[in-house]
Amino acid sequence: MPQMLTFAVPKGRILDEALPVMARAGVVPDDAFHDKANRSLSFATTSDDMRLIRVRAFDVATFVAHGAAQIGIVGSDVIEEFEYADLYAPVDLDIGHCRLSVAEPAERGTSADGTSHLRVATKYPNITRRHFEAQGIQAECVKLNGAMELAPSLGLSGRIVDLVSTGATLKQNGLVETSRIMEISARLIVNRAALKTDARVAALVDAFRGNARSGNQGGAAAA
């Protein structure tokens, strides 16, 4: 019996879109995976030598980079934030589209120009620091894990850096998008050593690539 392959998928946003893509590549979780009452974190799949784990998006990258999971699906935002050297992102799955943007209160309307220091609330301190550094601004990041939109109105920070898809949440909280840092989509990620030493991982990458290509031809982009 070969060693078990572990496939990490993120909870939330991307998962619903990812399941059909995974199914086309032959990765199908057991029924228990869809059972909302089931509290387990690890699930069998229709293949004997593969299991699925469902963890937070940031943890998908960590599990795969450490080789605790060999393969996974995660947004390119997470990949950029960590810049793990042992991570490959071989396939753009063309799902989970959104963008990472800077937003600030609508009424103030100041820009970062001419400021040498500012405070930003974000889940992405590394990307944020790099983004502002490239503009010659030292950004002091306040790391939050959610509800970034509250930070400006409560005086925690002047700006936020967060994921934006429709912009509705920003609007409701009196914020406007002032610049886009990057476009984001979900990627298949694999552990470097696993890809080089386990032929099954390479075969899975090929399967996802094949179906990403046919998906693109069909124009199945979900924005």
């Binding site: 042992d86 050593a193 080089k196």
Partner: protein
């Protein structure tokens, strides 16, 4: 409870007897293999001038590698010192200075501890054992084949199983960008970056990057990947590289599983035409890497590799504890010396109350004979 002051800083650990023994055994075996192949051991100091050490590292004095060294001012010379984070630049310095006049090719090997001021989350160790060999004055296909074979043999000697070697061509993008697949100079870094993460989506967005897409698929088992690389080879720019890789693969094909990833550049910042990474069963991540390069300062060609065996030690089956002979008070010292000479490990009683078995003894000396407990 342990006093918090007695805890070790993050990324540092004690090797207790069993592990320490495994490390020294593996280290000895690796150095013996290198010695048997004519590599002379050199032993550079732990600390030297930062400028010389960093200047021979990837990225030079301002590179990310150089920044991760422990540094302090030398009270004697008032110059900046650094604790080595890599022994390879030190061997380069030796080849360029003390052994500049020695006959080439010069074969040197080394083994010692290196330290980092900050590790990363993936590999939190701040002190590592580095072993390696350098073949100085030659970076040909023959030299590369010798080094790959030597690295495999050294790791086998240390007990590694299921060895797998991944070949790469570190300067591939530079070669192709100059003519076969033209790229604006400012785009080269972008293409490299996307190739590094094998990001097909990102690569397609870089102007001129699309031509490089087939390289992403020229990876995997050696025979398969090299055939694809040959198909990609625009205008024969890579013909000599492909022939070289085949020659190296031929030499070691029966010794290890071989794969090719021509665009791999992680950890190959200063290699020239050829690089390789070694993996072994049960070890997460690489156990070693090497390739061809030019020594900083003199530009002399060289081929070498480094092995980081700490992770390998953890993966090795612990060797069974050997027999130990208890020598009671008043035993015959000549007999004890003779038994040690034929390989016995002995523990001598200090008092009547010593509990031989609790101290790990498997035998005790009765008259002139070791008797099992």
């Amino acid at each position: 409870m342990t006093n918090p002051d007695d805890l070790l800083p993050e990324g540092l650990e004690d090797r207790l007897p069993r592990e320490a023994k495994a490390v020294s055994t593996a280290m000895r075996q690796i150095l013996d293999v290198m010695d048997a192949h004519g590599y002379d051991r050199v032993s550079p100091p732990l600390v030297e001038f930062e400028k010389s050490l960093a200047g021979r590292m990837a990225g030079g004095n301002d590179g990310a590698t150089a920044r991760r060294m422990f540094r302090f001012v030398d009270p004697v010379s008032l110059r900046m010192l650094a604790v080595r984070s890599d022994i390879t630049p030190q061997v380069g310095r030796i080849a360029a200075t003390g052994m500049a006049a020695a006959a080439r090719p010069l074969r040197l090997c080394y083994g010692g501890e290196v330290a980092l001021i900050r590790a990363d989350q993936l590999d939190p160790a701040r002190q590592r054992l580095q072993l390696g060999a350098e073949l100085i004055g030659n970076d040909t296909v023959t030299a590369a084949a010798e080094m790959v074979a030597l690295a495999i043999e050294a790791l086998e000697g240390a007990g590694a199983k299921g060895i797998s070697v991944d070949f790469t061509l570190p300067d591939l993008v530079d070669i192709l960008a100059s003519k076969a697949m033209p790229l604006a100079p400012e785009r080269i870094a972008d293409v490299r970056r996307e190739l590094d993460t094998k990001d097909a989506g990102g690569l397609a967005q870089v102007p001129g990057g699309e031509a490089y897409m087939p390289l992403l698929y020229a990876t995997g088992p050696f025979e398969h990947a090299i055939a694809r690389l040959r198909d990609v080879d625009a205008g024969g720019a890579l013909a000599s590289r492909i022939a070289g890789l085949r020659q190296i693969a031929e030499r070691v094909a029966d010794r290890a599983r071989l794969t090719l990833d021509p665009t791999e550049r992680h950890g190959f910042e200063y290699q020239s035409w050829f690089g390789f990474t070694i993996y072994a069963d049960g070890v997460r991540g690489a156990v070693g890497r090497g390739g061809t390069y030019a020594i900083g300062g003199t530009g002399e060609p060289a081929t070498g590799f480094s092995l980081y065996i700490d992770a390998l030690i953890d993966a090795l089956q612990a060797s069974p504890a050997g027999d130990t002979l208890f020598l009671p008070l008043g035993h015959d010292r000549d007999i004890a010396a003779r038994l040690r000479a034929v390989g016995w490990r002995t523990i001598e009683a200090l008092s009547d109350s010593d509990d031989a078995q609790a101290l790990g003894c498997t035998h005790h000396l009765v008259g002139i004979d070791p008797v099992a407990y």
